[in-house]
Symmetry: C2
Subunit: 454 residues, 2 copies
């Protein structure tokens, strides 16, 4: 499907229509496109024409397109439209989209927006804005379908027909008792396949999977993955149903959480901002802290080398093998730590597996270490001008370093998890620094034995 | 929700019931649990009791639990059950689960399974097994709801009630013409909210988003994310509808694809296997190739240092700064490359942005480089015994190295993408090696100017 190319052509055509003032054609064509694509088009439109273009959209399309827009375009538009238009957009947005959008706006805009919202909605929005950023509460929507225990299938269907159009999903419906406590879940599929007089409580699933408003979004995502859910109910402390989370929002959470892990592993302060829209100062700030920490901790390596200065002086050629040794150790270690961090993140590896993992990594380390050392020794004997003792020192050091790096690479993230520190933060950036010191100590001690004595 | 602890308690209780031969209680309790949890329980049951336990499950539960099992448990069970039981499991499995499962089994089991499958199903399974591993075809299921163009809402509902129970989803239905060409999509929500006599073709969305059987799963996942879909139709070359993909399978794809990217960035050969279940030999094999390549390419660093041996001999202390310099460069470079690789993967950065990105990285590099160099110079002047010229050499080298590393870190992955090489493979492991050489050259040239001449 040449989706991208077709879209680019369409956007170009629209830009031409805009330039040629053919607004009625443009209006029609735009309103037939998917809101996600219209939102993308807005990024290519010159700023001063965005407002005009936005007003060409039908009311329904306007709100939905708005929810797909990047936050700087949203800001741009809210800044320039009238109060009435703000009200109609916010009223059309589903609650979770409205909260998402408000979370990104500067304070002066938020007050403009809230001023133009009905009392009821404002109260709910304020409550939502109080949930912690990565909690189930901040992800949920309050537009869900709920039945009472004693409802029949016919009544349920009538209710869906009447109110369903405003709900985020009508495919998972929830059953509550008279104090609004969640007692069951029933899918539209089950409802449709049941007779009109059946009681909802007879066909509902009563062992419902649910989360609480303050649960972390990572846990929420894990439940979706495990049970193949399309929606998940959210309850308060008294198990009263307060909202639902739908799978489309979870897809974003999973991506956000992995991006965060990847960034931490590469010594970056994680950030939700889009790269191209983040200023140079902020980008630098997110990187400089770890670079400083790691540079300072690199002092250990320097101290180790200085400590063995006499060894180096007697054979300067040894210095030329420092990079190869450090890099091989670093790579071997980060291979192990990456697999362990990822394995823990997706739930394949638990803390109870630690001895199994260490034992496995040591054996993997022995195989990798011996192979690398052998290849390296052969390579040096053929191509290098160094003595056999130097070659032996380098190769043995590689072997021992690889084994130790693998062991450190698995102990470090699991230890971090045990201490309730984020494994990705702890093990990702630090592994190289730690392995550096270890490999240098190994190297110079072998050098003392083989090179200095011979 | 203390899901995990509750589950562990339940599993322990079940194991006790099993030991005490209280099978009828166990049977009842197990059959009331979610299949995903029953499947997890099987992992904790001793191998020789698994078959017996499996036979306690009702027919429906058996097939669904089976689809959630790890492939080694599946293999175990298929190996020991009768041909009739194999047939009933495979018949109950939905097509995409059946194909997934067969993809993991050894050849002798596949023939046992296919022998016990009806002709029709075998034909379809074989066709599915022919789709490339990461294609839309391999993800899709053929259990979907389709209507003819001239169907009415009443007829559609009747059809859903009659056949819906066997379909993967009934919430997205598809409309085809008489040659089975996909002409539209209609959601169950729309059907329910429309009058009985309405023609399906009047309420359907006719600009359907679809993929072809051979499209890559990454593209498929991107469409789900962009349009917030819960299902996506798959068509053949003639745009005839052949299957659908549902969002629960996409959640797995997203996780698989990111794990793959993370592994590549850490110099691992990507693998779908669970860590704890992968043998030591296979783990070593997935790592050793990159370790060898990177070790051999480390020869450049050695050669550079050897080339400047005279500089080193005149001031051995310089060697002690090699690790700090290489690591800082490596970290700075991989920070940049990670952001760019991830940005391209989630579609935030395109090739057209290359000059923007380079310009941004250079400025970020200048800020980071100057800060690091200044901190380092101060630190060395206070704590180090080296001469001011050595300290100056190290600090200037850090500054220049950081800037160059940032630039290399963004050019490398984008260049790889341009050349249609996977950015994660190209830039992840190689960045350190390339930055090493660059930083050493910078370092020794500054040393020549400042240290040798003074």
């Amino acid at each position: 499907m040449n989706d991208e190319i077709e879209k680019e052509q369409e956007f170009e055509e629209w830009l031409n229509l805009l330039d040629e003032n053919k607004f009625s054609v443009l209006k029609q064509e735009m309103n037939e496109e998917y809101p996600a694509n219209i939102a993308e088009f807005f990024e290519e439109v010159p700023k001063k024409k965005r407002l005009f273009l936005f007003r060409l959209l039908t009311k329904d399309n306007a709100a939905e397109t708005f929810s797909f827009m990047a936050s700087d375009v949203q800001e741009d538009i809210v800044n320039s439209i009238t109060d009435n238009e703000v009200r109609s957009i916010v009223d059309e947005l589903s609650m979770d989209d409205a909260v998402d959008f408000l979370g990104e706006m500067p304070a002066n805009l938020i007050s403009k927006i809230l001023k133009n919202t009905s009392d009821d909605k404002r109260k709910i929005i304020n409550q939502f804005l109080n949930y912690p950023e990565d909690s189930a509460g901040s992800l949920m929507t309050i537009e869900f379908v709920q039945f009472h225990e004693n409802s029949t299938v016919a009544k349920a269907m009538e209710q869906i027909r009447k109110t369903g159009v405003d709900k985020e999903t009508i495919y998972s419906c929830y059953v509550v008792d008279k104090s609004r406590v969640l007692v069951g879940m029933v899918s539209l599929r089950t409802i449709i396949l049941s007779g009109d007089d059946t009681l909802v409580s007879d066909i509902m699933e009563d062992d419902v999977i649910y989360v609480q408003t303050l649960d972390d979004q990572e846990e929420v995502a894990a439940l979706f993955k495990k049970y193949n859910l399309i929606a998940l109910p959210v309850v308060d402390n008294e198990k009263r149903l307060v909202g639902i989370i739908t799978v489309d929002d979870i897809v974003d959470v999973i991506e956000e959480e992995t991006t965060e892990d990847i960034e931490k592993m590469s010594a970056l302060v994680p950030s939700d901002d889009e790269y191209l829209k983040t200023g140079v100062g902020k980008l630098a700030k997110n990187r400089i802290i770890w670079l400083l920490v790691l540079m300072i901790s690199g002092t250990f390596s320097s101290a180790i080398i200085s400590g063995y200065q006499s060894v180096l002086e007697s054979s300067v050629i040894l210095a030329s093998f420092i990079p190869i040794l450090m890099d091989t150790g670093g790579n071997a270690g980060s291979q192990a730590s990456t697999l362990i961090i990822r394995g823990m993140a997706v739930g394949e590896i638990g803390l109870k597996d630690i001895f199994l993992v260490i034992w496995k990594e040591i054996r993997v380390g022995v195989i990798c270490g011996i192979t690398l050392a052998a290849v390296n020794f052969l390579r040096l004997m053929i191509f290098s001008h160094a003595t056999t003792f130097v070659n032996l020192t380098v190769s043995l050091s590689i072997c021992v370093t690889v084994i130790l790096s693998k062991a450190i690479g698995c102990v470090l993230p699991m230890g971090a998890k045990k201490l309730k520190i984020d494994p990705a933060i702890m093990a990702g950036p630090l592994i190289t620094t730690i392995v550096d010191s270890v490999s240098l100590i190994v190297f110079f001690n072998f050098a003392k034995v083989f090179v200095l004595r011979n």
